[in-house]
Symmetry: C2
Subunit: 354 residues, 2 copies
Amino acid sequence: MKKQIVLLPGDGIGKEVMNSAKEVLTAIAEEYNHSFSFETHEIGGAAIDQYGTPLPETTVDACKQADAVLLGAVGGPKWDNNPSQLRPERGLLGIRKALDLYANLRPIKGFKNLLPASPLKEEVVCGSDLLIVRELTGGIYFGSPSERRENGQVVVDTLSYTRQEIERIIDKAFQAAQGRRGRLTSVDKANVLESSKMWREIVEEKKAQYPDVAVEHLLVDAAAMKLITNPSHFDVIVTENMFGDILSDEASVLTGSLGMLPSASLNEAGVGLYEPVHGSAPDIAGKGIANPTAMILSAALMLRYSFGLEDEAKIIEDAVQSVLDAGYHTADLRIAGGFQVGTAEMTKLIVDYI
Amino acid sequence: MKKQIVLLPGDGIGKEVMNSAKEVLTAIAEEYNHSFSFETHEIGGAAIDQYGTPLPETTVDACKQADAVLLGAVGGPKWDNNPSQLRPERGLLGIRKALDLYANLRPIKGFKNLLPASPLKEEVVCGSDLLIVRELTGGIYFGSPSERRENGQVVVDTLSYTRQEIERIIDKAFQAAQGRRGRLTSVDKANVLESSKMWREIVEEKKAQYPDVAVEHLLVDAAAMKLITNPSHFDVIVTENMFGDILSDEASVLTGSLGMLPSASLNEAGVGLYEPVHGSAPDIAGKGIANPTAMILSAALMLRYSFGLEDEAKIIEDAVQSVLDAGYHTADLRIAGGFQVGTAEMTKLIVDYI
Ligand SMILES: CC(C)[C@H](C(=O)O)[C@@H](O)C(=O)O
Ligand SMILES: CC(C)[C@H](C(=O)O)[C@@H](O)C(=O)O
């Protein structure tokens, strides 16, 4: 298989973990006789420094022509006080919209030997394995008007969705549930928001098409509680952009392995952008101690979702598991009786397994 | 002191726990020579059944004339499929707006001997003692337009705030921080929302007026994580209506004592509405096993905030602590080597202490 992959390392540890992902993909290509070509472009703070914009046209064009995109992370204190159009995260929002990456998938699964690092009691978190499907290109993130009025005395943001935008993300979530344990939790605030009422209606309309999926509705405040008190209740959660932002970050700390969590953002053409859930971690950037696993597992999601290479995705996931089982971990994690290693060594251990 | 208190028991266990609060207040009145008169009105499902509306005019009028209002809880499966204007929670939203209860205060503090019931590891949650100050009468809850458009192909909700609405809640939060440990965390989504940018600007403007308070800004997604990984980081958290709904419910399950948490909703005149954080618990209603503590502690907040009766508030809080220390608890809690009691007995134990 011949594939063209755009790498957007971004800022901070983004650059370091991207190198790791590239090494792993190179090993996969050799082992399975694929030809992956890589092209690196700038986004976020790095792009601001070099081109004066967080999302240069050349980056967008390259992504549009690619078979898939890997993103490291964006942001850092250097750009924190920039005006909003010159902030690194604008690059992220911009590329999501430019590629129409409406479906953000975040699988969250505890690694048995990392559970001691969870803030939750082991009996509460153990066995949890959930997937958050977040709408990523609509809602209050992109609605207009979003402005000051009456001489700065009033401010307004707009949460808006088209029926078609809601339908496609809900279809995606039903399909994801079919490929998992067949349970879907739709999260909304239907007792307050008109958009949530429409969201709930569409879930109800769609469920006849997916008779093998059991559906429940949960209010966002109740979901925020239940994620903590009973995370293993959930299989697939689907929700709109802002609720998804909050709940997926909340969920990401439950298993104690934020540094291990990948994500996929997909469009209708199947082109996807894959990135770790963690940020650019400016405090540890350049020290060679960042955990590359989330980025490597994001590359595995790319192989599975964008290229249909299930075996290759699986071997990467097995490699990570076996390296952890052998007790190796980076500085952000603890394994009793284990061995702490840096980014390069962790990567080499994973590559060796492959 | 002579005070007129309106009781809105509402639905489910609301009625049972309201009786407990009334008993406790009656004991306080006797002990401290106050005259509290009580007037009971309907809200929520009970009001729908009796008057065909979740918030009868008579209820609103009585609340407006009262010195303070106690609310039990609203809602239940009986009304779940009603059209939105005939749902119990409309009564709650309506009374908040009618009384202009813009400041919702939710203190969350672990009770040492209840921490084993927390989903969090004891070392993570221990020592946490925070206050969430939630804006309660603005934002996306009440913004307009909130409607379907283009033949139901588009839906819109509006998050809107006036400068004055943001200023008054931020002032309230700074003042609360002054009365506590002097730390304020303002939560927003300033990297995406215009309303959050204005919110953050106003916090920055105000902080010169409160030099004794240390302020930080936190994005809502990061706050959702940090509440779990490091709850004792926080003193006072201030945020807008929807973020406050989600974060305060998230925070309410951290200490394992949801049944113990009171809340206060205040307006500029100091008239307040006090209610437990928990809901109407239809599954256990009428069984005499509901935990009355959150309602009783809400009455204590009323004495403190609306009537300025600090000693009286304190003795109720001490009573609750000492009853717990003696090992008594209701069915929703566990205390190793403790004694399980019903609503009436729990109330009596607290009254006896007073
Ligand atoms: C950086 C920010 C705009 C972004 C978001 O809110 O979507 C981030 O929090 C995320 O979840 O990817
Ligand atoms: C019932 C509902 C409308 C309400 C809210 O969202 O404000 C509730 O969740 C609360 O927090 O008091």
